[in-house]
C-alpha cells in the first residue's frame, strides 16, 4: 500500500475512537473549563479559583491526599515487593496455589472490600481488636477516631492493592535470565550481592511500572472511603476525589467542583508527565519499542 492509502485505512479504522475522543474527552474537558471559569449566572469569573485559596476543606483534602498517597504507596509497594521476592525464592509445588491466593483481592469489588473491612475494623465485635488484644490495645475505634481513620483506610487499601504490585514485580523476577545467577555464583557473590547487583537491575522495568500504576490507582481511590468513612470523622479522610464528589453532588456547586476537578487533573497530569519525562516507563510499557514511533 502506498502512503495515502495507509493513512486512509488508518483513519477509517480509527474513526470510532475519534468520535469517542471528541465526545468523551474533549467535550467534557471544555465543559469543565467553561464551568470553572464562569459563575452561576454564566459570566466569566476567576472567583472559583480564588475561593480555592481560602477553602479550608480543600487544603485539608490536599494534605489528606498527600498523607493517603504516601502512606498507601509506601506500604503497598513494600508489602507487594517483599511478598513477590518471598514467593520467587520458594521453589516448591505450592507456588501456583500461593500465587492464586495472593491474586484473590484483585478480584473482589472495591465496595465489597469496604464492607469486609467494616466488619473487621468494628470496635466492639470486630476480629482485629481481638487479634491485637494480647498487645494490650483494648478496644480501638479504628474508623471513628480522627487519628486512626486514615491509617485504617491505608490498611484496607494495602490489602486491596499490594497484590497488584506483587503481580508486576513477581512477573519481572521471572524474566531474569538464569545464566546471570550462574555467573554470579561462579564469581562468588553473596546472596545479598546477587540480589543487589543482578536481580534489582534486571527487574528495573517492573519496579518503575509498578510504582506508576500503584500511584495512579491510589490517586483514583474513592470507593473505600465512601464505604468505610464517608470522609469522616470530621474531614479527616477527605481526599481530592471524594471532595470533588461532595462539592458537586452534596453542595451542588457545579462551577466550583469543575475548578477542583481541573486542579485534580493538573496534579495527575504533572505526575504522569514527570514519570514519562524522568523514567523510562514509556519504554517499559512498550511505547517506544512497539506502540508509536
Amino acid at each position: 500500500m502506498h502512503q495515502g492509502q495507509t493513512l486512509k485505512v488508518g483513519l477509517v479504522l480509527a474513526s470510532p475512537i475519534i468520535v469517542y475522543f471528541a465526545a468523551f474527552f474533549l467535550y467534557p474537558l471544555l465543559n469543565l473549563l467553561q464551568n470553572a471559569f464562569t459563575s452561576t449566572s454564566g459570566s466569566f469569573t476567576l472567583a472559583n479559583f480564588q475561593s480555592m485559596l481560602s477553602d479550608p476543606i480543600l487544603s485539608v483534602s490536599l494534605s489528606n491526599t498527600a498523607y493517603y498517597f504516601v502512606g498507601s504507596v509506601a506500604l503497598e509497594y513494600s508489602v507487594g515487593f517483599v511478598v513477590a521476592v518471598i514467593l520467587y525464592a520458594y521453589t516448591g509445588r505450592l507456588k501456583s496455589v500461593f500465587r492464586t491466593i495472593i491474586f484473590l483481592p484483585l478480584m473482589v469489588s472495591p465496595v465489597v472490600i469496604g464492607l469486609m473491612w467494616l466488619l473487621i475494623l468494628n470496635t466492639n465485635y470486630g476480629p482485629l481488636d481481638y487479634i491485637l488484644s494480647p498487645f494490650g490495645l483494648g478496644t480501638v475505634n479504628w474508623l471513628g477516631s480522627q487519628s486512626l481513620a486514615m491509617p485504617s483506610l491505608i490498611l484496607a487499601n494495602t490489602w486491596e492493592y499490594s497484590p497488584f504490585v506483587f503481580l508486576i514485580i513477581y512477573a519481572g523476577l521471572q524474566t531474569v535470565p538464569p545464566h546471570l545467577y550462574e555467573a554470579a555464583s561462579v564469581d562468588g557473590l553473596s546472596r545479598f550481592e546477587t540480589f543487589r547487583y543482578i536481580t534489582l537491575p534486571s527487574i528495573r522495568p517492573s519496579i518503575v511500572v509498578a510504582f506508576l500504576l500503584n500511584a495512579i490507582g491510589v490517586l483514583k481511590g474513592f470507593d473505600l472511603i465512601y464505604v468505610l468513612t464517608n470522609g469522616g470523622p470530621g474531614f479527616s479522610t477527605y481526599i481530592l476525589s471524594f471532595y470533588t464528589y461532595v462539592v458537586g453532588f452534596s453542595f451542588f456547586e457545579t462551577h466550583y467542583a469543575a475548578a477542583i476537578a481541573l486542579l485534580f487533573l493538573a496534579i495527575i497530569g504533572t505526575f504522569v508527565f514527570a514519570m514519562l519525562r524522568f523514567t523510562s516507563v514509556e519504554e517499559y510499557l512498550g511505547l517506544r519499542r512497539g506502540k508509536g514511533e
Binding site: P16, L29, L32, P105, L119, P163, Y226, A261
Partner: protein
C-alpha cells in the same frame, strides 16, 4: 535447600492467611446465627451454620424491602450495562483503533494520549458527565451509565490491544495481502483472531470494572427508588448505609452473594488478566 523451602512455606502460609482472612471472615459472618455475630470475643469458627442471612429482608431503597438474594434484579441491570458498555468499547472502538494505531497511524503522541486517558480519575469528569446525561435525558437509565462507562473502558481496551496487535508478526498479514485480502479483511479475518487472548482480557476486565463501578453510578442513577438502571455497587452501598450497625449477617451475605459472579470469572481467567491489569507490562 529442603529446610529453606519449609521455612518459606511457613512464611507464605502466614501471608496467605492475611490475604484470605477478610474473605473468610465475611463468608463466616454471612453464615452465622445472629447471636454468634454479636459476641465478644468474636467467633472465628461458628458452632452453627445458617443460610437465613441470605433471605433476611432489609429496607434498601425507600419503602423497598430486599434480601441479599433479592439483589438479583440489580445484578441483571449490572450485567446488561456492563455487557453493552464492554461490547461497544472493545469491538466498535478499541479493536479497530488499536489496530490502526499499531499498523497505520504510528504516532507516539497518540499512544501517549491513550495511555493518559486510562489514568484519569473518574472524579475529574463526574460533573461534565452528569451534565451531559442530564441534557440528553439519560439520568436513571441504562444508556446513561453505558455511555459513561465507555469513557474509561475504551482507552483501557485500546491500550491493551495495541500491545497484542504489536505482537502479531507482520509476515502473517503480508501473506494475507498476497492472497488478495483488503486491509479491512486482514484486520477482521486475520489479525483480530490472532489477538483472541487480548480480546478475552479486554472483555473480562472491562466487564469487571463496569460491574464494580461506584462513583458514576451514585451520581447518574441517584434516584432513591429502584429505576431499573441501578447497579450492584449502588444496591450494596444503600444496604450498607441502612444496615451498618444492625444486620451484619445480611450485609456479609449481600457482599458474598454479589461478589461471586466476577470473582469466579476472574479466577478462571486469571492467566489472561495479569497482562491486562498491568496495562500490558506483564506478559504471559
Amino acid at each position: 535447600m529442603k529446610g529453606r523451602n519449609l521455612l518459606l512455606i511457613a512464611i507464605l502460609a502466614v501471608i496467605s492467611l492475611v490475604y484470605l482472612f477478610p474473605i473468610y471472615w465475611t463468608v463466616v459472618t454471612s453464615l452465622k446465627t445472629s447471636t454468634e455475630v454479636f459476641t465478644r470475643p468474636p467467633v472465628f469458627f461458628p458452632s452453627q451454620i445458617t443460610l437465613s442471612n441470605f433471605f433476611v429482608s432489609v429496607d434498601v431503597f425507600r419503602a423497598v424491602s430486599q434480601t441479599a438474594v433479592g439483589s438479583i434484579p440489580w445484578m441483571i441491570d449490572s450485567t446488561i450495562i456492563a455487557v453493552l458498555a464492554t461490547l461497544i468499547s472493545t469491538f466498535l472502538i478499541a479493536a479497530p483503533a488499536a489496530y490502526a494505531l499499531v499498523r497505520f497511524i504510528r504516532n507516539v503522541w497518540l499512544a501517549r494520549l491513550i495511555l493518559f486517558m486510562t489514568m484519569i480519575p473518574e472524579a475529574v469528569f463526574v460533573v461534565p458527565f452528569f451534565i451531559i446525561d442530564a441534557k440528553l435525558g439519560l439520568l436513571n437509565t441504562w444508556w446513561g451509565l453505558i455511555l459513561v462507562y465507555i469513557s474509561f473502558s475504551a482507552p483501557f481496551s485500546t491500550w491493551l490491544l495495541m500491545g497484542f496487535f504489536n505482537d502479531v508478526p507482520k509476515s502473517v498479514e503480508e501473506a494475507a495481502q498476497i492472497d488478495g485480502l483488503s486491509p479491512y479483511q486482514i484486520f477482521y479475518r486475520v489479525s483480530l483472531r490472532l489477538v483472541t487472548p487480548g480480546i478475552i482480557a479486554a472483555v473480562i476486565l472491562s466487564f469487571i470494572s463496569c460491574w464494580n463501578e461506584l462513583l458514576y453510578a451514585l451520581v447518574i442513577t441517584f434516584s432513591p427508588f429502584p429505576s431499573g438502571s441501578q447497579t450492584v455497587p449502588l444496591f450494596l452501598t444503600s444496604f450498607i448505609i441502612v444496615e451498618k450497625s444492625f444486620n451484619w449477617g445480611g450485609l456479609a451475605a449481600a457482599g458474598i452473594f454479589t461478589m461471586l459472579p466476577t470473582m469466579i470469572m476472574g479466577i478462571f481467567a486469571q492467566r489472561y488478566l495479569a497482562r491486562g491489569l498491568t496495562l500490558g507490562s506483564v506478559k504471559g
